[in-house]
Every structure is written in C-alpha cells, then in structure tokens.
Symmetry: C2
Subunit: 340 residues, 2 copies
C-alpha cells in the first residue's frame, strides 16, 4: 500500500486549519496557541511529516547539494578525497552528488552543465586529463561567472580564479629524492607521465631540484615518460636494462609497483639493490611485498579542506579573496627503502 508522502496541505485540510498555521505550528512559532501547536505537531509526528527538500530548495535558492566532478572513481586517491568531502559536507547537512568525467573533456562539460542548472550550490572538481590536454576552461569560466562557487583540487589551472587545494608536489618529489640521495643512491630513475599533467610536471621539478641541490646532474636517460596510465612492463624492462638504477622514484603507484615486479624478476632485490619510492599512498603501496615507501597526499584532508572552503563561500556568498590552500605531503617509510 502506497503511503503518499504527506504535505502541509494535507495536514491543514485534515485538521481544518490553514496551511500557514500548520507551517508556523511546526516551527513552534510563538504566534500559534499552545493548543493548536500540540494538535498539529502530534498529527505531523504521527504521519511522519518531513518537509519536501525540493520545495525548500526552490524557495531558498539553496539546494544543500555539492557537485563533485572527478576524473575517475576507481582510483584510490580520488576515492579518499571523496570520502573527505562527504565527511565534512554531511556534517554540515550537505549531500554530495558525484559525477565522473572519465578523464574526458566532453563528459566533464556535460556533467557541469547538468548540475549547474540549480541542482547544486557549488562545485568541487579535479580536471580531467582531456581538459588539461585541451586547455579549454570555458565551462569553468561560465560557471564561476554565474556566481556558482567552485573549488579546484589537485589538478588545477591558473586560468580560473577560484579557491584551490593542492599538495606541494614539488616538495613531495623533493623529499622523496632527497631521502634516496641520503641513502647514498646515485642513479635515481624517474618514472613519470607526459608533461601536460600539472602534477607530473611539478613532481619532475622536485626530482630535478633535489638532484641539483646534491650536486648531481639531471640526465634524460634516467627519466622514463610513459603514456598516461598505460602499464607496459616491457618498456619498463627495456628502460631498466639500459640504465640499471640504484633507486626509482615513480609519480604514481601503478608504475612503481610494476617497476618493482620487473626488478624482482631481473633478480634484483628491493630495497637492497634498488630502493623504490612511489607517489600516492594507496592500497597497492601498502599491501605490496615489500611494501612501498610512499609520498602521502592526504586525500581525505584535501577533500575536507575543499568542502570547507566551498561551504564557507556558499554560505558567505562573497566573491573575493580566492585562496589556494597547500597541503604538505609526507613520506610514509615502508620496506622498499633502506632504513636509517
């Protein structure tokens, strides 16, 4: 039996009072007599009245929904960010609408447009690979010009004026490289992706800076640039044959763990012969054998921070002083590096 959702109107009719009286009574307004309030409140409770969110949204022009657009959800880092966002947002009474751009510019645009027509109070997003490659940010510009708050995280752009949350990728790579250098490693390979990714670019910079600071030169032959998210152990194998490094820094977990596999199959021991440090402290790094020393990006904290910035802006509705919060990466030392 379908128990129709009850509205103010139903209650009013049933109790033979006006809609506005019901509304006020349920808000415990002083205007209404104790007696009427009791009757109405009891009735409402009995029928489990709950105000309709949509109607309230229309009236208040506030949905209490946050739109989150991420490139991929089957990716531990984004997943932790979503969790951080959820956590903070829920605590503030907001829901989270998650959309996936699937690394595609077009899907990113479609998702934004879908949500921008009143469904959400603001956006939290990380640019898709397609968007970073294309460098077309008009959809973001439109949204911000409409006055919809936007917080970018991790994969950001300078083209758009809005709040941002990033981690200091240069520092992260620097710390990792420095650790390897302090272990006495001299031939440190870098596994990275093509350069159009803001994050990879910064990680490469940190790696190079650390080498220089320790008086070494950056040699291109120690750098392997793999296509985005493409795992090709043969390429890694060829690379490792050509240079025989004593340490490897990988800009992501996947490259790192496959590099370790290749090394192990070549009969090299990790960390005795080769140390490995990987970016993004995810499941793979944690559960690998040996477990991999990682740069933690603190995704959950990033998510919380982004949600906090967004909700503050939504509720304050001023459009000034855009800030960029920088999260400090930390090294999680595990078994793939030497201990000191």
């Amino acid at each position: 039996m379908l128990k129709q959702k009850i509205t103010l109107k139903h209650i009013a009719k049933e109790l033979d009072v006006s809609i506005s009286t019901v509304s006020k009574a349920l808000k415990n307004s002083e205007e209404i007599s104790r007696d009427t309030k009791d009757r109405i409140q009891a009735f409402a409770k009995l029928y489990n009245y709950k105000p309709n969110n949509i109607a309230i949204s229309l009236k208040n022009k506030r949905t209490k929904n946050i739109g989150v657009i991420i490139p991929d959800i089957v990716h531990h880092f984004f997943t932790t960010v979503v969790r951080g966002i959820e956590k903070y947002a829920n605590a503030q009474g907001y829901n989270v609408i998650v959309c996936l751009s699937d690394e595609s510019f077009d899907k990113e645009v479609i998702n934004m447009e879908m949500l921008a027509n009143g469904s959400i109070d603001g956006f939290i997003m990380s640019l898709s690979a397609g968007t970073e490659k294309k460098k077309d940010f008009n959809h973001l510009k439109e949204v911000t010009e409409q006055g919809i708050p936007l917080v970018l995280f991790d994969r950001v752009t300078n083209e758009i004026r809005c709040d941002k949350v990033v981690i200091d990728d240069i520092l992260g790579a620097y710390l990792a490289t420095e650790k390897l250098l302090k272990e006495g490693r001299k031939k440190i390979a870098l596994l990275t992706t093509e350069d159009f990714f803001s994050v990879s670019k910064n990680r490469n910079l940190g790696y190079e800076k650390a080498l220089r600071d320790f008086g070494l030169v950056v040699e291109e032959k120690y750098i392997l640039r793999l296509p985005f998210m493409d795992i090709d152990e043969d390429k890694i194998s060829d690379f490792l044959n050509s240079i025989v490094p004593d340490a490897v820094l990988s800009v992501n977990e996947i490259f790192g763990i496959h590099c370790m596999r290749v090394l192990q199959r070549k009969g090299l021991k990790v960390p005795e012969d080769v140390s490995i440090i990987g970016f993004t402290d995810g499941l793979l790094a944690r559960h690998a054998n040996p477990s991999i020393t990682s740069i933690a990006q603190h995704g959950e904290k990033m998510g919380e921070t982004a949600a906090r910035m967004l909700i503050e802006r939504v509720e304050r509705e001023d459009e000034s002083n855009y800030r960029t919060e920088i999260i400090q990466p930390t090294i999680i030392t595990r078994e793939s590096t030497l201990n000191f």
Copy 2:
C-alpha cells in the same frame, strides 16, 4: 561581475511577452508564431537560458537523481559498482548522489532520511555491516512503504521486498575451490570473516560444497575467521604454521594478499607450493607479484543492472514483480595458481 541566472520571467519581461509564451516558444510549440519563436529562441540562446532543475523537479515530482548508499568508497568493489551505476544513470539523464554509511547503521539511517524527503527518485544500496549485524531494516521498510523504489545489491536481506542484484557467491566459491581441487590440491584453507555477512556466509557454503562433492570432509581447523577488515599477519602466520595448506581460498583481496606475503616470508613459493585464489578482482590481485587468480564479481555490471532496474521501476511506477538478478561470477586466472 555576477551574471544572474536567467529565467523565463526575465525573458518575458525583456521581450514584452507573457511567461507562457516564452515557455512554449522555447519548446518550439506550434501555437507560437514563427516570428515570436525566433525572437525568443535567439534571446534565450544569447543569454544561455537553461531551465531550472529544481523548479522542474517540484513540478514533475521527479528529480532525476538517484541516491546511492554504500558502506565504503575506499573499496574497489563498491567503487566499480558506483562506476556502473553512474554510467547507466548518466546515459539516462540521471545524476547520482553518493552517500557513505561507513559501515554504520546510524549513518545509513541518517543518509536515507536525508535523501528520502524529495531529493531522489529512488535508492540503490548495499547494507552496512552495522545493519547486517543489527538486523534492523525499518528504515528500508519505511522508504519502500512510501513508494520510493529501492534496489539492494550485494549485501541484501530477505526481510525487504524490493529488487535485488547479487552475485552467486556460492557458485563463485565453488568454482574457485573446484579449480584448486582439480589442480590436485587436498589441503585447502579458507580465509573468511565472521558469519553475519551474507556474502561471507555464502562463500563459505560454496567452499564446503565443493569439498564434499570431491569426497573431502570440511575440517574446521582449515578455516580461519578473521574480524572484519582487520589485517593481522600474525594470526595468519600462526594459522599457516598449524596446518600447512597446499592452497588458500580467501573471501577478499586483502586477506589473500597478506596470506601470500606470509607464505612467501616462510619461504614457500606461490603457486608452486601453495595456490591462492581470492575473491574480488581488484587492484591488489591484479598488480601483486605474482598476480592473484581471482573471482571477478563484475561490480560494474552489477551497478549497471541495479541502475537499470531502478530507473525502470521509477519510470513505470508499478510496485509488483520484484526481481532478483543474479550475476554469474567468473574466474580470472593469473599467476597464483597452476596452469592446465
């Protein structure tokens, strides 16, 4: 400069026609003259008019939002399900609101109530551990009695009449155990969780059935029950010392991979000395060394199926013939088992 979102009213005023004329013109109604339509459409395009979703939701009593409540998002299986849901839902013009119950009964209830007041057209969910333990399904009952469609997946209950999507966990475990038996393995250990989980229970059953079908007896000493998601390599190590199996079936990836680590540290070789098969074909299984033969649960397909069932019910609005779709698990053969 804040470019206020434009409404029908603005256009009407600007072009000095009535709101309904504008509305009709934008829908290309035959009632309106070519001339007026052109004027209005041009103006709307210029100012990038888009109807307000909230107003439409209120009018239609349809939000085109789907509420998804899952126990945990940092869990590869759920993540793939969400992706499947997203994919299908987006293609049908629906948005996905994701809420996390964090394995807690209370949070599950709160999330449901938040969304049930008009924010969504239907729910897709998987029960939290807390709910399965408590066996309290009143929140689900209330929602279905209100006529809000609900699809349960993976962790389901017989207490609620609604559409369901599950995988045949008994079969999955049976297939895995059978494969190990056919390899000639005789001492097959089972790593599982406590019994209140519907999925673990079924996996245990499949394991036991296969052993019996092959004329072996189920020995309790070959079964290790670990607390939910608690990784304790010492317990695993003690267990493996006490029985020395020649194969291991794990009801999840994490237990499986840690079991492999422990075995490897004991100097045993996988798969030469011990074969391993694990449930849930996630990142860990795929990228481990050796990679782990897994039971694929086809999360993405499950998500798609759930979304299809939900949207069908939302759009047909009848409340009969609840179905349970059963997804067939398959074995992904990798390096942790012997080849035939």
